[in-house]
């Protein structure tokens, strides 16, 4: 049901919600004080009890993730994934810009819970305002004795370190993020053996949490796990931020009750999307970031619940919902997404590095009017070689899910809108002449 309950976006309408004074005035850092009075294990239990699902994409329960840390191995690190960069995803940015102290408080609670003494917040490089707001909030927090030596007068000390990304989408993947933090090229590590909880940052046990996940912790610690699970669906409790974009009248980030609100309500309620533009019909929508398989009108009444969405063959992922109305060219839409993944492939695994680029080239050729009938099946087969079976959850010939992500829009669009592809190749001229030969880069001779 549409609801105006705001747990984590409560300060977004304030002009000074990002300041320490306002944060404190509105109850800030009380949850931290309360947590510090508890044993870390008790905090972990509280969060486990809240069944807080990770908000980064995979939706893994936060408390359980913390529990994977091997006992008595120190140092261990908390890494905050603020490298939000999937097209259509912009919820973490607002959390960092509008309520940075809430994140810092969440970071401190999590660090206390897992007994970490250092937390690294990895922020996407392009988010200039978020950098500024978080940095000044952190300075305030250090000055107020909330972060640093003797947190809030206790004998527990901890530091928060910012790291600004350099624009690679892949470092949103946790192991690539860790590589990048270590100063290496942002390229994913294979799990196993490099599960962050065991061999993470500097090969030490590491928890990687999403910004939104941690932003929920102050509310949970203030109000208790029971109050949290009372909101939304018990299996997907609390609220969740969805970044709604595309052909709706009122795009934006909305905090909705998790697991109970439906896609139709999100698109049509005046509280949220306020209807499809110009009263058109939905042709397709992407339920959870451009890496997710697409949904269509028959999915509109499905609740925004990971179990339902997963069973229907897609995911809520990072909470980026893109709506495409009936005027959308599905081949171009798929091409645009494939092009994104092609550009953002890190270059490590051959199927992703070569495959996504090849797929993009086939699309480009089709759109330029040089498609061949065989190209449609070729698209599917090349995609299949990156993500065998083109099924959900995806199988992959790559280390990380970036490559298979490029297969999602292809499989979704070809299966549903094959006629649009056929129309492209039907009117094509068979010329295969590509662009003239160009050297990519002239390199100096050593």
């Amino acid at each position: 049901m549409p609801s105006s309950l705001k747990m984590i976006s409560s300060r977004w309408d304030l002009t000074d919600g990002h300041t320490l004074a306002k944060y404190r005035e509105t109850g800030g850092y009380e949850a931290l004080r309360k947590s510090l009075a508890m044993e870390p294990e008790a905090v972990v239990e509280e969060v486990k009890g809240a069944n807080l699902l990770g908000r980064g994409g995979a939706g893994f329960p936060c408390g359980t993730k913390w529990g994977f840390l091997p006992k008595d191995v120190f140092p261990r690190y908390l890494v905050v994934n603020g490298d939000e960069s999937e097209p259509g995803t912009y919820k973490d940015r607002l959390l960092m810009e509008k309520d940075p102290h809430q994140l810092i408080e969440g970071v401190l609670i999590a660090a206390w819970a897992i007994r970490a003494k250092q937390a690294f917040i990895y922020i996407r490089g392009e988010m200039a305002l978020a950098h500024e707001r978080l940095a000044s909030a952190l300075n305030e927090a250090y000055a107020a004795g909330i972060v640093g030596k003797n947190v809030m007068g206790t004998d527990w000390s901890m530091d928060v370190i910012f790291h600004f990304g350099a624009g690679a989408y892949i470092v949103g993947e946790e192991t690539a993020l860790i590589e990048s933090l270590e100063g290496n090229r942002g390229m994913p590590r294979l799990k196993p053996p490099f599960f962050p909880a065991v061999k993470g940052l500097y090969m030490q046990p590491t928890v990687v949490n999403n910004v939104e996940t941690l932003a929920n912790l102050p509310w949970i610690m203030n109000n208790g796990a029971a109050a949290f699970t009372a909101i939304g669906d018990p299996k997907a409790p609390g609220t969740r931020l969805f970044a709604l974009s595309g052909h709706v009248n009122n795009p934006g980030v909305f905090e909705v009750d998790f697991g109970t609100t439906t896609f139709r309500e999100l698109f049509e309620s005046p509280l949220y999307g306020n209807g499809i533009r110009e009263g058109r019909k939905v042709k397709a929508f992407i339920p959870g970031g451009v890496s997710a398989p697409w949904f269509f009108e028959e999915h509109l009444d499905m609740p925004l619940h990971p179990a339902n969405v997963g069973a229907a063959g897609s995911m809520l992922g990072s909470g980026a919902i893109v709506v495409m109305d009936e005027t959308t060219d599905m081949v171009k839409a798929a091409w645009r997404i494939v092009k994104f993944f092609s550009k953002e492939s890190c270059g490590k695994c051959s199927p992703c590095r070569e495959g996504t680029n090849w797929l993009e080239k086939i699309y480009k050729r089709m759109l330029d009017g040089h498609g061949r009938p065989a190209d449609i099946d070729l698209l599917m087969d090349v995609a299949d070689n990156i993500s065998p079976g083109l099924a959900w959850p995806p199988r992959q010939t790559t280390i990380c899910p970036l490559g298979p992500s490029a297969a999602s829009p292809i499989a979704s669009s070809v299966r549903r809108f094959r006629d649009e592809y056929e129309a492209y190749v039907a009117h094509a001229t068979p010329s295969l002449v590509g662009t003239p030969v160009q050297l990519m880069q002239t390199s100096r001779v050593a």
């Binding site: 090969m203 492939s345 051959s350 070689n385 662009t435 050593a446």
Partner: protein, 890 residues
């Protein structure tokens, strides 16, 4: 991956795991990677990025297999997954086959398929695996990726980025193995390329390895490029003799011309790697600098003219005939095979009774020290509890030993302490690098030894007390930790040629005395087979098989009939005697004393004075210019035999091409001379000499390289023989330092030896007399001198690809010293020693300590050879130099 923190699996497997591979159940070792297990079981899983000597990355995705898991079979890279109990793996399922086909197609979409003009064609893993596993044709019709091709990433290596499949092998090698992270991935995604940073070429001593491990033709070596097709190559496995490490190599030729060396993955020695000097110096073999015919110089200073073997041998024999044994000096032998060396030892010592024989050129350590200290192998050093480096810059002189020890220090975390008058390539990998004032190694070592129990309280030999104590702490902690094999391995060699050999021997003996049975020595001689030549008796007072003249007397009389009357002179003493007119004839067994003895003036004086200089050599060099007779010798890859590396490992040398002209192996020349001098030397082939060595040379008794497991060589003395061969108390000096006396064992010799004579004991090194401690002198600098990998030596000079890499002579100074002298880098200065002065450009080098000046030995111009005065060295323990600015010339 993080460079520092991945554990290398070291624990020996206790139990085995049951793994089912394509339905066949087998026993796997814990920690073993699936890809390695499969290969062991006879299933080759295709791969490009995985290399057993480097960390796995799982990039190419070629080795995907299906592994049964709780959620059904999943595709996993076999190169990243260790075996697990009960693991069920399919390498041939339809899903696997499709994935492999897919990966190959992906790798080929942007690959230029220019196989017909590619050096790799015919031996290309991409080509082979496409044929074996891949689809027949490509569905890719778009324009391929284009790059400028090829580009030079170093002076020796070309990179063709179009062919590159981005497997991360070369980049991993440069970072993980060589420690020269100069090639990198650049750009991202489909534009990812391997390249160097601008103005920062891949100038690594190990660059050739990336060519060998490249799974496509992306990296090619300039010396080999376009010289042969793989299917035309013929090859043998041999041992590299560019330095004393003795790397195992494959020698390849086409049309009786050596075209390429490839490293062989020998577990004990080189792990498949070669240094660039060893890899590319094949160019010298067919160079125009080779002697092809005997040459005779009829008058001193005259022109040498081509002669015949008959004439040249007759002239040589007459020199031996007409010169008393004590007036002949024989210098050199490190270039020879063991068989050559033995033949010459038998001729010289057994028949001619000449003992003025020395395989070293005054630039090594004492022969008795080298053969008589308890020896360690490379692998023992790499697994030691602690390693003490007391030798030359390994990166410059013994590059593959450097790689092995670098691996030990970085991956196995073996603690190391370095003692040297100058920082070295190892300095950044050791726990403490103690850079002492030149000539004061014994002072420092004695301070270090006392600091093991009582901390030092003052600076000694120019090293701060804190650093000495930290090094002592490293050693104590390492020995207490129980990690490693419990050994203290001392890598011993000449740290500087401007220091006396005895100062190093003294320092090593102090360590041996301190650590007792736990300590052993890994010698770090520079020349390839110097160890073998000494083992074969080419040293004064020594006989073959590491026995002294005194103790081997009866044994060798019974085998040879005769031995020299008394111990002879070493090279430096011979040269002095020659300069004084006491020695009338010098024989150079593949030696160039004028270039290599650290006192060129002395050599010149000797050459001027003697009546005859006879040179057996492969190449024209400075010293052969003084020879009255030049006997052309067959060189590397042209003759059979064995060679001995620095750890005492005897391995095979296999001929591949014919010697130029009418050059002959050195042993054959010895046989010819013996005949002319009226002796029956007793063998007519290399095999017969090898057999005689295994029968006669005490340390080599029982050696059989055809035994199973001996393919990469055998370390002598054999462990089983050691027990039988008694080791005697030291014959001179006071305290025997290592080894215990054992009862003489009677070994029956299965030939017609009349009486049973016991095998003589092996030599045991004794501590030398304390060397002179140099006196501080703040007005001058102390000279430090050592070799660089690329020098003006014969082999490098005759290898065009390497010759241009040899830096010009220069004087290296600490930045502080440059400032103190008011100099600038690049400026020309006059370096004055007691003897001479020479103008050199200044190079800034933080490895050089303040108060020292480093001049590389054997560079063009011979600066260091000229500056060093052995009399000064003997008197004061160091060579003093001063700097004077040179007025800029108009």
């Amino acid at each position: 991956m993080s460079d520092t923190t991945i554990d290398t699996p070291v624990a020996p497997p206790k139990t085995t795991l049951t793994v089912t591979l394509d339905g066949r159940t087998g026993e796997a070792n814990p920690g073993e990677l699936l890809i390695a297990y499969a290969e062991r079981m006879g299933t080759y899983i295709p791969r490009f990025c995985w290399h057993p000597r480097m960390r796995e990355v799982g990039m190419c995705r070629m080795c995907l297999v299906e592994i049964d898991g709780p959620r059904g079979p999943s595709l996993q890279p076999a190169c990243m997954i260790p075996v697990a109990e009960g693991m069920k793996v399919s390498t041939e399922s339809p899903v696997v086959k499709k994935a492999q086909d897919g990966v190959l197609e992906f790798l080929l979409v942007n690959h230029p398929l220019d196989c017909p003009v590619c050096d790799k064609g015919g031996e290309c893993p991409l080509q082979d695996q496409t044929l074996t596993f891949g689809p027949g044709e490509s569905r890719f019709v778009e324009e391929k990726r284009h790059y400028e091709k090829p580009i030079a990433i170093s002076d020796l290596v070309y990179l063709d980025r179009e062919r590159c499949i981005l497997c991360d092998r070369c980049t991993r090698f440069s970072k993980e193995v060589a420690g020269d992270p100069l090639i990198h991935f650049m750009s991202r995604g489909n534009q990812t390329e391997v390249n160097t940073f601008p103005d920062d070429p891949f100038s690594s001593y190990f660059s050739g390895n990336v060519v060998q491990i490249c799974p496509v033709g992306a990296l090619t070596a300039k010396p080999y490029r376009f010289t042969a097709r793989p299917w035309d190559l013929d090859q043998v496995e041999s041992t590299c003799t560019s330095c004393a490490v003795g790397c195992r190599v494959v020698v390849q030729s086409s049309g009786d011309r050596i075209t390429r060396y490839q490293g062989v993955d020998s577990d004990d020695v080189n792990w498949g790697w070669l240094c660039d000097k060893g890899r590319f110096d094949f160019e010298a073999i067919s160079s125009s600098g080779r002697f092809t015919h005997p040459m005779v110089r009829k008058e001193k200073g005259g022109i040498a003219t081509q002669s015949t073997w008959f004439d040249a041998l007759e002239r040589t024999a007459s020199v031996f005939r007409n010169t008393p044994a004590d007036q002949v000096g024989v210098i050199g032998g490190a270039r020879l095979t063991n068989e050559d060396a033995y033949a010459w030892a038998k001729l010289l010592k057994g028949f001619l009774r000449i003992d003025n024989v020395d395989a070293q050129l005054g630039d090594g350590l004492g022969a008795q020290f080298i053969v008589g200290t308890p020896q360690a192998t490379i692998t023992e050093a790499a697994n030691a509890s602690v390693v003490i480096l007391l030798g030359p810059d390994l990166k410059e002189e013994l590059p593959i030993l450097f790689l092995r020890l670098r691996d030990a220090a970085t991956n196995k975390k073996v603690p190391m302490v370095e003692i040297s008058p100058k920082g070295t390539g190892m300095s950044r990998y050791v726990r403490q690098s103690l850079v002492h004032r030149a000539g004061e190694a014994p002072v420092l070592v004695s301070a270090l030894v006392s600091a093991l129990t009582t901390p030092a309280d003052r600076q000694l030999a120019g090293v701060e007390a804190d650093l000495i104590n930290a090094a002592a702490q490293t050693i104590n902690a390492a020995l207490a930790s129980g990690k490693g094999n419990g050994k203290v391995v001392i890598v011993a060699g000449r740290t500087s040629l401007a220091e006396s050999a005895s100062s190093i021997e003294e320092a090593v003996h102090a360590l041996l005395a301190k650590f007792g049975a736990a300590a052993s020595v890994l010698g770090a001689p520079r020349r390839a087979n110097v160890r073998g030549a000494l083992d074969m008796g080419l040293a004064p007072g020594m006989l073959p098989g590491r026995v002294s003249l005194a103790q081997g007397l009866d044994w060798f009389r019974s085998h040879w009939g005769n031995v020299p009357q008394m111990p002879g002179r070493d090279t430096l003493a011979m040269l002095k005697a020659a300069a004084a007119g006491e020695i009338k004839a010098l024989v150079l067994l593949g030696a160039d004393p004028l270039s290599d003895v650290p006192d060129a003036q002395l050599v010149a004086a000797a050459f001027a004075k003697v009546d005859h200089v006879i040179a057996l050599d492969t190449f024209e060099n400075a010293s052969t210019g003084f020879a009255s007779v030049i006997l052309p010798a067959a060189g590397y890859a042209e003759k059979a035999g064995t060679t001995t590396n620095l750890e005492g490992r005897v391995s095979r040398l296999v001929p591949k091409v014919n010697a130029p002209g009418i050059a002959r192996p050195d042993w054959m020349i010895a046989v010819e001379l013996a005949v002319r001098l009226g002796h029956d030397i007793g063998f007519e082939s290399v095999e017969e000499i090898t057999a005689e060595i295994a029968r006669v040379a005490p340390s080599h008794i029982g050696l059989d390289l055809s035994a199973p497991g001996a393919v990469d060589g055998v370390v002598v003395p054999l462990a089983t023989i050691v027990a039988d061969v008694p080791v005697a108390e030291a014959s001179v000096g006071d305290v025997p330092v290592a080894g215990e006396s054992a009862e003489s064992a009677e070994i029956e010799i299965a030939d017609d030896t009349p009486a049973v004579i016991s095998v003589p004991p092996l030599v045991v090194s004794v501590a030398p007399k304390p060397s002179v401690v140099p006196q501080p002198d703040s007005y001058s600098l102390r000279l430090v001198s050592g070799h660089l990998l690329y020098d003006a030596g014969t082999i490098v000079s005759n290898s065009p690809s390497l010759a241009k890499l040899a830096p010009a002579a220069s004087v290296h100074l600490n930045p502080g010293e440059i400032e103190r002298h008011g100099l600038k880098a690049g400026q020309q200065v006059r370096v004055l020693s007691q003897r001479t002065s020479i103008e050199l450009p200044v190079v800034e080098n933080v490895q050089v300590a303040r108060g020292s000046a480093f001049v590389a030995f054997g560079q063009l111009g011979g600066a260091a050879q000229a500056l060093i005065d052995l009399d000064e060295l003997a008197a004061s323990g160091m060579i003093k130099v001063r700097l004077e600015t040179v007025e800029a010339r108009p």
